[in-house]
Amino acid sequence: MKYISRFFFIIAIIIFTYPVSFVNAGSSQATGEIHFKPEEIVGFAKKVEKTLAEKGARVAIVGRVGRERNKLPEGVNYTHVGLAVYSQISSADGRKLPGYIMYNLYQRANEPNVSDLIKDFPADFFAGVEVMEAGIIIPTPKLQKRILEVLVSQTYKELHNPNYSVIANPFTLELQNCTEHTLDVITAAIYQTNDLNIIKANEKAYFDPQRVNISPIKLMLGSWFVKDVATSDHPDSPVTSTFTTIGQFLTKYNAASELLTIIPRG
């Protein structure tokens, strides 16, 4: 009896000394389980589009929640970030419709440590969310124009590094995730450059990343057993970019017109 009590006591101590679970959760296309009715997702995606259109946003940074909030680590509120771009969309039956298209960096389904640049629509973007909420950052008109110029140029693709890690260090070139690619596009737009050395130097100088609050043991185990978790690009305490830190960066340097949250009702 004493043996069993000690066993559970030790387990309890170890479990409770772990920090809140780490998660990136969802730089991927929604190819699996759905958590809301399709019509709810389609309706919500349209609400996001209409809100952006009312505000005259040509480009917006959009965050989604691919995991229950209480399972997200400290400081992480959104699990995937994409760029919404007001576009002329050609329907399969040949009509030209105004709406938003999402520019994403998604992990591959069967190779999660590799990513691709993929465009989809808001209904696709929100298809697999676990929390029906969108985080929105609307850049200033000047920055919107410059981001658009990057998106239609080769620079957009040149800034993509397919080697993926959920906790990619935004200050290095080794690995990249969706938020780092978005940050690189924004920084390229601000400085009107495609030179990664200039982009990284300015991010290092002005961007405050999110510290990754995970116990070293858990992180080590993750890097051993989970393909899309790597620590090789973190010489010091791990840091990464998030939707929130991008919002803070743009706000601090007067490059954001508005930050808002969209929920189904309200």
Binding site: I41, K55, R67, S90, L97, D124, V226, S257
Partner: protein, 115 residues
Amino acid sequence: MKFVKSLTIALLVTLTLSVNSFAGETHSGRAFVEAGNASSHASASAAHSIAGTAQVTSAALAVPLFVVGAVGGLSNEIAIDLMDIATAPVGTPLEISDESMTVGPAPNNALGEDI
């Protein structure tokens, strides 16, 4: 001795649980993928569910609706009736279609199990 043994067992159990939870939490997208694969790439997947609703329209091409600077190079692809929107200043309220678009499922899902 018993204490060392119990400590070892506890550590092994806990570390195993930790890794499993890490894997499960780290990438819910992967969980989606696995769930999707497990359900024969079909009706349970989010993309299929969305694509299957009567509310969405399949779409293929899109160009930014903005004629300025480098983006202006795309202006010849923009429909004439949307040109006013394309040339309006940033911040001007924009027209939006009531239709929802979707890209449809990924190729592997569209092909199904027999690929």
